[in-house]
Symmetry: none
Subunit: 218 residues, 2 copies
């Protein structure tokens, strides 16, 4: 289908041409389509010819309405848009495996976190985290992740030390289930920590400096 037809149909639909006849002169349609009155008039004749609209010629002004076929045409375009914007429940991040400070692993294997991970993520993390330094061009995507709810892992105190609340976001690396763990009060940086049931470096045969892609569910 020619995109110029759906463009015109959409403008008519916006004026209510799906529900009922709308009064719409060729001049007005021309303005909406950014073209001359003459071309808009021709466009209307084409749409009539394709049976995408029906027309009721009044004495002064014509009244136009979309046919079921016309409605179908723009509905199809609408569902293309929905496929683009609504199925996008996954964020792909790319980055480089980095040496952690070892701190992440220490935190994560605290029993206070472990039980919650098991309950909320469905797996018991391997003792240790995988650190990924996110590529510069993907850093902005971190904001989207930070602003998504995720699974809240509550803080606790143990041996006189307090462990803060963190948020876990379910993810996958090469189809292996894992999760990105972000401390609630983290400063914005470009390194994420990943927990997984398995020893990711060994299971995937990856090591420092290797490029990986991680898919995060939002």
């Amino acid at each position: 289908m020619d995109s110029k037809y759906t463009f015109a149909l959409r403008k008519i639909a916006m004026l209510g041409g799906i529900e009922d006849y709308v009064v719409l002169s060729s001049r007005e349609l021309g303005e909406a389509l950014e073209m001359s009155q003459q071309s808009a008039s021709k466009r209307i004749l084409e749409l009539l010819d394709e049976k995408l609209i029906v027309r009721d010629m009044g004495a002064r002004k014509q009244r136009i309405k979309l046919t079921p076929k016309g409605v179908e045409e723009i509905k199809q375009e609408y569902s293309e848009y929905r496929r683009i914007f609504e199925v996008d429940d996954q964020i792909n991040l790319r980055g480089v495996i980095t040496d952690g400070m070892g701190e992440g692993g220490y935190y994560i294997c605290q029993i206070g976190y472990m039980t919650q991970f098991e309950e909320k993520l469905g797996f018991k993390p391997y003792e240790g985290t995988l650190n990924i330094t996110i590529d510069r061009e993907d850093i902005s995507k971190l904001d989207i992740i930070r602003s998504s709810p995720g699974e809240t892992i509550y803080g606790f105190s143990s041996e006189g030390r307090s462990f803060g609340k963190v948020v876990a976001h379910k993810a996958k690396i090469k189809s292996i289930e894992c999760a990105v763990v972000i401390p609630e009060r983290s400063h914005y940086d470009n390194v994420i920590e990943v927990v997984c049931q398995y020893h990711l470096r060994r299971t995937l045969s990856i090591g420092n400096g290797d490029h990986v892609e991680i898919k995060i569910k939002v």
Copy 2:
């Protein structure tokens, strides 16, 4: 914007060109667009020229990605469709009362805005705005509001300072009339500013962190 551009952008977006570069030869694009390889190649050059896409020329095949401007273009078309098919003349947004930076209140109580508010909204706003951080699941609805006409409040200059054009959208919070005010050149964020004849926090006994629902007329 020319509909043939958005048509091509949409096809690229469907292949994942919003998130990342997609391998897409001019022949393949030509097939998707039902045109020749030569014309598709030309279309790509036009889109590049309009800065709607960026390209990475590989040795064998090119990789194409939409620019933010390109994404904006098709998002606008998407929200037109939503206005057509999600035929609600009212949009319900939910969010949390947030501390403003105090700036909103300063802007709004400028006499240049106040007189227009009174004239176009039918009430004189209380000096100060209520900030609401919109829930994540409702953020996409903001696009619909942004693309709806609303009441234009013109900018002006005062004391050597210029105040930009803003758009007011009539709304209600628990049956109290108010309006959402959006600066024309606002960056996309998830916080809206609400003006009202009354002191909303006091009148509704609400405060920071409280959840509220606001109904916006479109």
